[in-house]
């Protein structure tokens, strides 16, 4: 049975810090960094926001967009690499806060930046096999970058929720198929109890991001017998602006196809929310009949590719909640000292 996106919702905190402000503190060349990463600024959570609160806000937005009865949700899966608890699910907090409890299954997912799309695949399976009516898949992060590390320039905060179901009268985008490509590649990790992740520097590029994204993308297009020309839009995981632009070119997609979903220059990398945020921004603009190709990447490493076809139902979901573009407007800029306070990098005596 075919599955699809019944609704989607996103949340982006209102605070931003500019790359040049972080570079000022660490004595780096802001212009060269911004140009190299193709990122101007990144989102910062408020002092009382974490991956759970962001997940709840995005889930509430998804429910409000299509006026869904939350008790229909049979599974809540939250993907994040910044779950607030080491042991105690984020997904139970979300399920309670959206009024979906108690008749559902819930669990937390972790696969670096692609835990959200792994959750989408799990919901697809449960919905297609009629084990559940609707599944809620979430990618939410308040990602961590050690002070002075290259990741600090992009590690951002945000989340996206996708409601997955099978009712053709409700589906706003059919999921035509999905394809994953996974290997054991140690390009990025965080050990238990450590506050910040470590990474393999340039090793994260070729054997990590590019190998897996192209592997999954080419695998899906081969499976579906499609080419980049068959798609109106394309979204690739956006750890920075450079990687998705380059991988799109490698695969034969054009700049015009990826631009609507390329939110990273004004948002940063929202990790588990990153690819889903690009899909959400694209759905905000897509018309019935449009085809969207998307590939998420998670270090460790793996990639999940998806092919979507937008349905007529998308028009009914318009203007019900804020678009990604609207959420990116009018941010509150903060300096590094306030950013450090928000990110708990400073400890009081």
């Amino acid at each position: 049975m075919k599955t699809g996106i019944v609704s989607y919702g996103a949340y982006i905190p209102k605070y931003r810090i500019k790359v040049e402000e972080i570079a000022r503190v660490w004595g780096d060349d802001a212009e060269s960094l911004s140009k190299g990463l193709k990122v101007d600024e990144k989102s910062v959570p408020d002092i009382d926001e974490d991956a759970a609160t962001i997940a709840v806000e995005s889930a509430r937005s998804a429910i409000a967009r299509c006026n869904i009865d939350p008790t229909r949700i049979g599974a809540v899966y939250t993907g994040s690499e910044s779950h607030p608890y080491a042991v105690k699910p984020t997904s139970t907090i979300v399920a309670e806060a959206i009024g979906a409890t108690p008749q559902l299954t819930a669990a937390d997912f972790e696969f670096a930046c692609k835990a959200g799309t792994a959750a989408v695949q799990a919901c697809m399976g449960l919905a297609a096999s009629k084990q559940i009516d609707l599944g809620l898949a979430i990618g939410s992060d308040v990602s961590q970058g050690a002070p002075g590390d290259a990741l600090e320039y992009t590690a951002a905060a945000g989340g996206v929720s996708m409601l997955i179901g099978t009712n053709p009268d409700e589906i706003i985008a059919n999921i035509e198929d999905t394809y994953s490509f996974t290997t054991d590649t140690p390009d990025f990790w965080r050990r238990e109890g450590m506050p910040y992740p470590e990474h393999g520097g340039r090793f994260t590029g070729e054997p990590g991001y590019f190998k897996h994204v192209t592997g999954a993308a080419e695998g899906l297009m081969s499976k579906l017998n499609t080419t980049p020309k068959d798609y109106d839009y394309a979204v690739f995981h956006q750890p920075n602006g450079k990687f998705p632009s380059r991988v799109a070119k490698m695969l034969g997609f054009t700049t015009e196809q990826i631009l609507p979903g390329l939110v990273v220059p004004k948002l940063g990398n929202t990790y588990s929310g990153s690819c889903l945020m690009g899909i959400a921004a694209t759905l905000d603009q897509a018309k019935p009949g449009d085809c969207i190709f998307a590939t998420a990447f998670g270090s460790g490493a793996g990639a999940d590719a998806f092919s979507f076809e937008v349905t007529e139902n998308i028009e009914k979901s318009r203007n019900k909640v804020a678009t990604i573009e609207e959420m990116l407007q009018n941010p509150t800029y903060i300096d590094y000292s306030i950013y450090a306070k928000h990110k708990d990098k400073l400890r009081r005596a």
């Binding site: 009382d48 926001e49 806000e57 009024g99 009081r348």
Partner: protein
């Protein structure tokens, strides 16, 4: 606050669940099991507020209680929900942005925690509606 004490009120804090007396049409938050007006004749039902409200009083906290020091200065306000009940809550906005009569809407935020090893308490705060 003990884990059990918070957990008992968790649903009302997450989702602004209160009660409504069908006899006199009065709304209560936090929920009341008995209507103080109708007493025995009251007909109480559960009611979920959507959270639209208005700031009717506020103060700026600069010397905070233990556990809230890192949030100063922050705003503590009395918000009147459109159905009538008033509740004390934090407003998440700059101290120069708040004013009496400000329309607000609820957001899901961390209310506090039991220290590094303790439970994290989540619930409702408010932000400007526009």
């Amino acid at each position: 606050m003990s884990v059990a004490r918070f957990w008992r009120k968790q649903v009302q804090r997450y989702n602004l669940v209160g009660t409504h007396c069908k006899s006199c049409d009065e709304y209560f938050y936090p929920p009341r099991n008995m209507c103080p007006t109708c007493r025995r004749n009251g007909k109480i039902e559960s009611y979920k507020f959507n959270g639209d409200g208005e700031v009717i009083s506020f103060t700026v906290i600069r010397t905070a209680a233990v556990g809230f020091e890192h949030q100063t200065p922050y705003i503590l306000a009395i918000v009147q929900l459109k159905e009538g009940p008033k509740l004390t809550t934090q407003i998440s906005c700059g101290i120069d942005e708040i004013y009496l009569g400000m329309k607000v809407k609820p957001v899901f935020r961390k209310l506090g925690d039991g220290g590094e090893k303790g439970m994290i308490y989540y619930g409702t705060k408010f932000i400007a509606a526009e």
